[in-house]
């Protein structure tokens, strides 16, 4: 049987992926993962033997929410770099597009969608992470998808023509 620390170690690549998608910034993402790991190790005694992976996602999600709140209290917020938009035909373009579409979502919707689509959590697991009923998770996912589709179809007509 593998121990607590080993299991946390195994989750690090997925946590980095999730954090990167949440923040769009490699440094901020790794800081978030580092804080998650510190908190997980320090709170090991609080972990009640449930699904460790969900617990780590919960910590990271909460830390990110706190981070966004403290950002919101500051006067200036740095936007995602828009001055280096790639050529629409480059392979990067699709990635940039989905990145911007994700950035237009409400935090709870982005979190729900990423946990389901990118991290492969079940609706039930996401409900635990977000502390809401499963129905709420499903409506967050549905709204996220509606918003992304609207963004991709309306905001980037150029790309659709190229495709």
């Amino acid at each position: 049987m593998i121990g607590f620390k080993e299991e946390v170690q195994l989750a690090i690549p997925a946590l980095r992926r999730y954090a990167r998608a949440l923040t769009h910034d490699a440094d901020v993402a790794d800081d978030l993962v580092q804080d998650t790991l510190v908190r997980a190790l320090r709170s090991q005694h609080l972990f009640n033997g449930g699904e460790l992976r969900s617990w780590l996602y919960t910590i990271l999600t909460n830390l990110n929410r706190n981070r966004l709140r403290s950002l919101a209290r500051r006067p200036a917020i740095t936007a995602i770099g828009d001055n280096d938009a790639p050529d629409a035909s480059s392979p990067e373009a699709g990635g940039r597009d989905i990145e911007r579409a994700l950035a237009t979502l409400l935090e709870d919707q982005r979190t729900a969608l990423l946990l389901v689509v990118l991290e492969g959590l079940s609706y039930r697991e996401v409900a635990e992470v977000q502390g809401v009923p499963i129905g709420t998770v499903m409506s967050r996912v549905a709204r996220a998808r509606l918003q992304i589709r609207a963004y991709l179809e309306n905001e980037r007509p150029m790309l659709r023509r190229v495709k």
């Binding site: 170690q9 690090i12 580092q34 790991l37 510190v38 617990w55 709140r69 989905i98 389901v116 689509v117």
Partner: protein, 265 residues
């Protein structure tokens, strides 16, 4: 009797179908529905493309080598945030200094209600320290006995550190804070398994005993009461019901302390 497969297909089922959450006995019905409804089929296809784009954009991150600072074995417990903590201390000093100045200026007129200025202060401390990862407290829960003795001595009355394990809250530790009038306040921090934090702020006051009052600001809530010349503020979630439970549990454990104190004096 209508069979499961004959029920009309809902939007929830379309999402569940894409996410692999659809019960097996509905799969055929959804697929038949999509074959006959081009609009829904287009939505499902778009959702799949979105998911593919998200995975294509981010899945390589998980394959990258883990940087040294995220290696558990090598992870330094020294704070990457010491600069932030120092900056926070300056902000606290500035805020409290400014507040003290304002209080001093205002002594000629009506002093603000203790309810307002104490909860404002407790909430500010809560917001400042609840998000702190490495240095949320000065004295950790491991030294709980020392923490209680020290803060009681500095605040000037015997304090009790409530045990909130029944509420799923574990003591993180505590710290000493100044009040606007220059006296000392004790600040205890608790945390649940998901990392949500609650804090208890206590200081001596001349205000008369008061029942519990609720106040909310910027997604945080606070409950305030005064008992035997000590003001208490429990801060945490703005989910009022949950905060009440925590405050009540704290109150029930603090209250006997007061009667012992009264007997002793």
């Amino acid at each position: 009797m209508m069979m499961n497969k004959d029920l009309p297909v809902t939007d929830d089922e379309l999402h569940a179908y894409v996410d692999g959450e659809l019960p097996a006995d509905r799969r055929a019905a959804v697929e038949a529905w999509l074959a006959g409804h081009a609009d829904d089929a287009a939505r499902v296809a778009a959702w799949r493309l979105q998911a593919d784009a998200i995975r294509a954009r981010y899945s390589n991150v998980a394959g990258q080598p883990i940087p040294p600072k995220l290696q558990l074995a090598r992870m330094s417990y020294a704070s990457r945030r010491w600069k932030l903590a120092a900056a926070a201390a300056v902000i606290v000093a500035f805020f409290l200094g400014g507040f003290a100045g304002w209080m001093a200026h205002d002594t000629g007129g009506d002093a603000p209600e203790p309810f307002d200025h104490l909860t404002a202060q407790a909430l500010n401390a809560h917001k400042l320290y609840a998000v702190e990862v490495r240095h949320p407290v000065e004295v950790a829960a491991a030294d709980a006995e020392h923490l209680q003795r020290w803060l009681s001595k500095r605040v000037g009355c015997p304090l009790r550190t409530p045990n909130l394990e029944a509420q799923g809250l574990h003591l993180v530790g505590g710290r000493l804070l100044p009040t606007p009038t220059g006296t000392a306040a004790a600040f205890f921090m608790y945390e649940n398994a998901s990392g949500d934090r609650f804090t208890l702020y206590c200081t001596q006051t001349k205000a008369p005993n008061s029942a519990m009052h609720y106040n909310a600001a910027e997604k945080a809530g606070a409950i305030y009461w005064v008992d035997s010349n000590v003001a208490y503020v429990v801060s945490g979630t703005n989910e009022r019901k949950q905060l009440w439970k925590v405050a009540r549990a704290a109150y029930e454990q603090i209250e006997p302390r007061v009667s012992q104190h009264e007997r002793a004096s």
